[in-house]
């Protein structure tokens, strides 16, 4: 009986845990413990779902016992089980980390509110991923967005407030665009269920209204995933949010948005409509090429390393869109694989920055001189993550770039190959700046002596760093998941799930 309820439990556990977490406002430690426990259970559920999907194929769950399309359903398939695994896995690492980090960055009265927000955000992201209903997706999107705005606004700098507000405006515009798109689709098909939409949209042919709906959905989701040039909210949001929040959001939120994009483009509208009627690749490819180059260069000039990583994220999202824009199985596999890998690397990098912030109070590059000797473990983990961003062999980044370049070569798009490689070199430069500061510059005279971050920060950090190496050396697992999902998405254009 338990196993058939898993899809609901995946979301309901953190969702209903949140009010309890909130009720413990006098006891932040308990509130954190509860949140951590729930994040672990969510990860457990995701693993069980993965096993179920691999054994039995797609799982459907009807809320309230109402069959879709009349009721709301959850669908778990090859594609979103991967995303569920990423989101809950990152949460299972970041939640334990958050306690120590939050002690330094957030006032005790607000801590349980922070943990509640994190839990709500987790629930929202998981819900978006698993939702099989276009409108339910919007509701869960708003849960995750509102909690994200809250977390960002809790940053210590006052610019956190403006960053949060800017994100709120952009995010709400994005969400409104999404409901406009969903509304038009409903008007044309009479259904909100994604599977149902996927079977009915081909009947519409190339109607103008469905093209407009497509446009609004892509723009709305594009705002959410920081598609260049709609990314302006992202750098400040990541830079000024509390460290634990930055790590969690950076590793998961945009990934979920990319997933939604893939879901709409491939399964709901279908390959034929998206790529042959709308030619969406002619948007994705130039935009992502420009994003990759431009934001990588901007990242080079950042003083705040968190902000540098944020710009790097925009570039990395470009890789994923590029993979989608290649319109071949290899490219899509690369995009999905990078979804997984980028979560690991950015998670590790932001957690490392959180540990630095814990000790020195900021993440400016000039404050990090000589840290390599004083915080050897933290900086070593940063280097691992950084190498992964660059795409050095035996890290996850290498595998994604390998497959992405392979996809580009299959299309014979040599300039795109060149762009990917040039961007790797730029990434090398911006990671190198940090390495040089930390390892080759002496600690400034008179600076107070710094000790290594506590184990409660280091253990989660190294879990992610080690995952970067493990999945870089043995990418069989992630690649198989990504590849089988990509194949399904391409092959079953109509029955998109």
């Amino acid at each position: 009986m338990m196993s058939s309820q898993l899809p609901a439990l995946q979301v309901v556990l953190p969702l209903l845990g949140a009010p309890f977490c909130f009720l413990l406002w006098r006891y932040p430690r308990w509130s954190w413990a509860l949140a951590t426990l729930l994040s672990w259970s969510a990860f457990g559920v995701a693993i069980m779902l993965l096993i179920q999907v691999q054994n039995a194929g797609t799982i459907e769950y009807a809320f309230g016992g109402w069959q879709a399309p009349w009721g709301i359903e959850y669908v778990v398939d090859q594609l979103n089980v991967l995303v569920l695994l990423i989101v809950s896995g990152i949460a299972a690492v970041v939640f334990p980390y958050s306690w120590t980090s939050v002690q330094r960055e957030i006032d005790p009265e607000q801590q349980s509110l922070f943990f509640t927000s994190m839990l709500l955000c987790l629930a929202g992201l998981l819900g978006i991923t698993i939702a099989g209903d276009a409108f339910n997706l919007f509701v869960l999107l708003e849960i995750s967005s509102l909690s994200t705005y809250t977390m960002i606004s809790m940053g210590r700098d006052r610019r956190a407030l403006t960053a949060s507000f800017q994100y709120l405006i952009m995010g709400t515009i994005g969400a409104t665009f999404i409901i406009i798109g969903v509304g038009i689709l409903y008007m044309l098909t009479g259904t909100l269920n994604m599977q149902d939409l996927a079977t009915r949209i081909p009947d519409l042919g190339t109607s103008r209204a469905s093209q407009v709906a497509f446009g609004f959905l892509i723009t709305g989701i594009g705002l959410k995933l920081a598609m260049f040039p709609l990314h302006l909210w992202l750098p400040n949001a990541y830079a000024y949010a509390p460290s634990a929040a930055s790590a969690f959001i950076a590793a998961t939120a945009t990934k979920v948005a990319v997933y939604v994009m893939v879901r709409y483009v491939f399964s709901i509208f279908g390959v034929g409509f998206s790529f042959e009627t709308m030619h969406i690749q002619w948007l994705f490819v130039p935009v992502s090429v420009f994003a990759i180059l431009f934001t990588s260069i901007v990242a080079l000039f950042q003083r705040d390393i968190k902000r540098m990583l944020a710009y790097s994220s925009v570039a990395q999202i470009g890789y994923m869109l590029l993979g989608i824009g290649l319109v071949n199985v290899t490219g899509l596999s690369a995009a999905l694989l990078h979804l997984f890998n980028h979560a690991l690397m950015k998670g590790a990098l932001f957690l490392a920055m959180g540990a630095v912030c814990y000790r020195i109070g900021n993440t400016f590059i000039d404050s990090m001189h000589g840290l390599g000797k004083q915080m050897p473990w933290t900086m070593a983990a940063f280097v691992v993550g950084g190498l992964s961003i660059v795409g050095v062999p035996l890290t996850t980044g290498f595998v994604s770039k390998w497959v992405l370049i392979q996809g580009a070569i299959e299309n014979g798009w040599w300039p795109v190959v060149a762009v990917i490689l040039v961007a790797s070199l730029i990434a090398m430069l911006y990671i190198w700046r940090v390495v040089e500061a930390a390892y080759m510059k002496p600690r400034p005279e008179g600076a107070e002596s710094i000790t290594e971050a506590p184990a409660s920060l280091l253990i989660p950090l190294w879990l992610l760093a080690a995952a970067n190496i493990y999945f870089g050396a043995n990418a069989q697992f992630s690649m198989e998941l990504a590849q089988s999902a990509a194949k399904t998405l391409f092959n079953s254009a109509v029955v998109g799930f």
Binding site: L15, W25, G64, E142, R158, L188, D196, G205
Partner: protein, 364 residues
């Protein structure tokens, strides 16, 4: 193209001509009024006027909703848009000031973006299904079943409530969580505190912070409160049969306390509804709603499957809907009250003359 051919005007012709013409006239009038309001908002500089116009805009759209047969939506829009949102905006203006300082920036780029977006939409409407046509695809497939089956499957006459609470009950749980999330956010940004505490910090004038008593208003408010609360309870439990339900009831309930705060001050209303109690209720409502789902799971159904709550599925549905509507009402009422208190606290601090300085962004 397929759609255009489907649009047989027959359905339209069979309808009483007069009624549709009336609808058309009302509609067009209201829409024109909406346009006028919106253009005033675009042009005006006074924030106070803008906010008031927004209230009017909401009220007008509520009227449109009535004209378009969406009575539940109209009820909610009136309560929320014209009510709570406007109140919250006005409370914000106390802190931020009533006037915009500068004229708009040169709006060429925004104008361009808006024009493109609008043009795309208009282009899209050209082959959209005709407005109001009963043959439109939107009205078939899924909606058919709600209209045909819900009175027997769920057993209540208000189809909106059936869909809201049962068929799409999980959406509504999500909606309650969104409200709850907003509470978490507002509480993390603003504090709820008795104004007396910081008035004392600022100076030693003991009484200036208290509102001058408005005896007439206070008495009227006190008389009105029970009626408002009774009305809220009516809306809460009558939602199955007519427009209304937990959300609208929650808003009305909150309005009673907002009225009380406006006339008696935050000190007194916080004594009436202490903050911890409000927080517990806010979380409690969510737990009641979610708990219903968990119970149905434990009884062997899917999450939020009310059929298993009683021996007879229809009475199960009844129980489920009543319980979850209660959860919605409790959460919405307590969240809105708390949010309002938080806004008032901030406004009171301003009144108490706290300096506007660059403080580190900490919980103040």
């Amino acid at each position: 193209m397929l759609l255009c051919e489907q649009q047989t005007p027959r359905g339209l012709n069979q309808l009483p001509r007069k009624k549709t013409e009336m609808e058309l006239a009302v509609n067009i009038t209201l829409l024109l009024m909406l346009c006028a309001t919106v253009f005033a908002v675009v042009k005006l500089q006074s924030l106070f006027a803008i906010v008031m116009l927004f209230g009017i805009y909401s009220l007008l759209s509520a009227m449109i909703f009535v004209a378009l047969d969406a009575v539940d939506v109209a009820f909610t829009e009136a309560a929320v848009g014209a009510g709570i949102s406007t109140v919250l905006m006005l409370a914000t203006l106390v802190t931020t000031g009533r006037w915009k300082k500068k004229p708009e920036r040169s709006g060429l780029l925004p104008l361009f973006v808006v024009t493109i977006t609008g043009a795309a939409l208009v282009w899209g409407t050209l082959d959209m299904p005709e407005y109001g046509n009963p043959a439109n695809p939107a009205h078939h497939h899924v909606a058919d079943r709600y209209i045909a089956e819900s009175p027997t499957e769920i057993g209540i006459p208000n189809m909106v409530t059936s869909v809201l609470a049962s068929y799409r009950g999980f959406d509504t749980l999500g909606e309650v969580i969104v409200v709850f999330t907003a509470l978490v956010g507002v509480l993390s940004l603003l504090q709820v505190r008795r104004p007396r505490t910081f008035a004392r910090k600022q100076d030693n004038r003991p009484d200036t912070h208290r509102r001058r008593p408005y005896p007439v208003l206070q008495v009227v408010a006190l008389i009105m409160m029970p009626f408002i609360i009774v009305f809220a309870l009516y809306v809460q439990f009558h939602g199955d049969f007519g427009p209304g339900g937990g959300f609208q009831a929650g808003v009305i309930f909150a309005v009673a306390f907002i009225l009380y705060t406006l006339t008696y001050g935050l000190d007194d209303s916080l004594a009436l509804t202490p903050l911890p109690a409000l927080k517990i209720l806010a979380a409690g409502g969510v737990i009641i709603y979610g708990g219903t789902g968990v119970v149905s799971m434990l009884l062997g159904g899917n999450f939020l499957d009310y059929n298993v709550l009683a021996a007879n599925p229809v009475s199960g549905q009844h129980i489920g809907i009543i319980v979850i509507e209660l959860g919605v009402g409790i959460t919405v009422a307590s969240v809105l009250i708390t949010v309002f208190y938080a806004f008032v606290t901030r406004a009171e601090r301003n009144r108490a003359g706290e300096k506007q300085v660059d403080l580190p962004n900490k919980a103040d």
